[in-house]
């Protein structure tokens, strides 16, 4: 009995090869899955949209990316870029942590400071870096921000600041804690001179930074959905043993409770910051 083969092609190749080549994914075009709508979006599309998803979710950005987004082209001049943290208390593991975090973030510290124009208006700018130890505030972050406010006071410039921080940097102990007072003092002097400070809270802004310069702006804006609070939500849940209300510590929650002036999506930030800066330069009542 002759053998009978059931020669039904199992796949495209056995069928005689592909007639149409599959759509080639560009190797340099990875995708990101949006944690909100679960769709995967090509990076270039995210970038075309200020690193936000069509559903409104705001992805994190590096500080340098933010500087590029908010300032006028080629207007940014960085200050104190050579300042870097040391390990003042010889805290175990800190030196090594600093080295690795510098490699990961490609930044010497958790904040970038400088001078720029936004909508052609000169201002001082600080942007915190979440990829550097979650933007925690140690002595150098405190020092850079304080110097920036002192510079702005001397040159009578407004300050625009983007915050993102896990709080004070515990590896620098009491010296980190003192930065809260130090930065607040500098903000106060700047403020008492009648100068404008605009702060934009981004995800997450917590702890010692919330309890100092993040909440000291004349006007406080926030990105949609940003977590903003003093104590960590998990810590509160564990301490009180109660489930937290919906949307707890989100930017919208802070607006509802009167601690944030407005929520501004990233796409509108440059125009909002420009408008507010304009409203604060010139035109005040003359006596």
């Amino acid at each position: 009995m002759p053998l009978k083969f059931n020669f039904k092609p199992k796949n495209e190749l056995e069928h005689g090869g592909r007639s149409v080549a599959p759509v080639q994914q560009d190797a340099s075009e990875p995708e990101k899955v949006c944690p909100n709508c679960r769709k995967s979006v090509p990076i270039s599309k995210l970038w075309a949209n200020w690193n936000t998803c069509a559903c409104g979710h705001h992805f994190r950005m590096t500080a340098r990316q933010r500087v590029r987004f908010i300032t006028d082209k080629d207007s940014f001049e960085e200050f104190y870029g050579d300042l870097t943290a040391v390990d003042p208390l010889s805290f175990p593991g800190y030196q090594k942590k600093l080295e690795t975090t510098r490699l990961v973030s490609k930044e010497p510290e958790a904040v970038i400071c400088g001078k720029a124009t936004i909508g052609k208006i000169p201002c001082c700018l600080f942007v915190m870096e979440s990829y550097f130890m979650m933007g925690s505030m140690g002595t150098v972050v405190g020092e850079k921000i304080t110097r920036l406010f002192e510079y702005a006071l001397e040159h009578r410039l407004p300050v625009v600041g983007y915050t993102v921080s896990g709080g004070a940097r515990m590896q620098e102990g009491l010296l980190s804690l003192m930065q809260m007072a130090k930065t607040s003092g500098a903000v106060k002097r700047h403020s008492d001179a009648g100068l404008f400070y605009l702060v934009i809270l981004t995800d997450p802004t917590t702890g010692g930074v919330t309890a100092s310069f993040a909440m000291e702006g004349d006007i406080v804006l926030a990105e949609p959905g940003a977590t903003v609070g003093f104590a960590g939500a998990r810590v509160i849940e564990q301490t009180t043993r109660k489930s937290l209300p919906k949307g707890f510590q989100q930017a919208e929650f802070l607006v509802d409770h009167g601690f944030v002036d407005a929520i501004v999506p990233r796409q509108k930030q440059k125009s909002a910051v420009t408008r507010l800066l304009k409203l604060h330069c010139g035109g005040e009542l003359k006596s």
Binding site: D82, S176, M178, A181, V235, I236, T239
Partner: protein
């Protein structure tokens, strides 16, 4: 004695609390309540005390001794309204040219839903800003625990003193150990590294004076403390550069530790 031994002493319910100091330091004390915005916070006691003949505005975090008291005082963990009451009374002190004495004893600002809803961070931030330019002498004494931002919110002062066994830290040793090493049992070692004792704080320049606990609670203890306060308040009142110096006092932290590196080494 290890750093952690001092943490345990500082937390002991038998330790003198702010009310003990208030009753013994002042000839009289008139307590004032409320932040005029939302509520009165029992964790912070405010009022006017008479230090010999000098009226002094007193702001004190109270932990309480007995279990019942401690619950009533929410274990010395202030809510935002406590910090706002403190600021109200400090502004009042400025108006009437009274010096301000803060007694600090807290494991930290209260951690809860309500505290967040009413802006714990904002309340602390405002105190830090306003205390920096408060135009009357301010002395803060850390008598037990000095827990992070919740303690700093009453410690932006011209002079900060600490009791010998008080501690002052950016985070509790337990919290630090569980975050960094996922092991709260390492708190003892961490306490040493955090440099939280009075001696450490003195060496870091965070405080000006350590107050001996040798005769703690005895009449001479309070008498000496009263003398110290009167002398210091008088000296500060004479100092025309008081506010400049207060700013410089805090401005100095970390100004020298920041070093520069070559950006190419990144």
């Amino acid at each position: 004695m290890t750093a952690y031994d001092r943490v345990k002493i500082a937390r002991s319910s038998k330790r003198l609390t702010s009310l003990d100091y208030i009753h013994n330091l002042f000839k009289s004390f008139f307590e004032l309540h409320g932040d005029r915005r939302f509520a009165d916070d029992a964790a912070i006691i405010g009022g006017i005390g008479q230090l010999d003949t000098l009226p002094v505005t007193v702001i004190a975090i109270e932990k309480g001794h007995s279990a019942k008291e401690r619950v009533y005082r929410s274990f010395g963990a202030p809510n935002p309204e406590g910090y706002r009451k403190a600021l109200r009374l400090m502004k009042q002190a400025e108006k009437f040219r009274r010096p301000v004495l803060c007694l600090v004893d807290t494991s930290g600002a209260f951690c809860g839903v309500g505290a967040e809803e009413r802006g714990q961070g904002q309340a602390i931030a405002e105190n830090l800003m306003e205390m920096m330019t408060l135009n009357v002498p301010v002395i803060s004494i850390l008598i037990g625990e000095g827990g992070s931002g919740g303690a700093l919110a009453l410690s932006v002062a011209d002079r900060v003193w600490m009791l010998e066994n008080a501690v002052y830290s950016v985070i509790s040793p337990e919290g630090c150990a569980s975050i960094l090493w996922k092991d709260a049992n390492k708190a003892e070692t961490v306490a040493t590294h955090l440099k939280l004792t009075a001696q450490d704080a003195l060496e870091l320049g965070v405080i000006e004076r350590i107050i001996s606990e040798k005769s703690m609670g005895q009449p001479e203890f309070y008498m000496q403390l009263r003398e110290m306060l009167l002398t210091e308040f008088a000296a500060l009142a004479r100092d025309e550069e008081m506010l400049e110096k207060r700013y410089a006092r805090f401005r100095a932290f970390g100004a020298a530790t920041a070093t520069t590196i070559e950006r190419t080494s990144l």
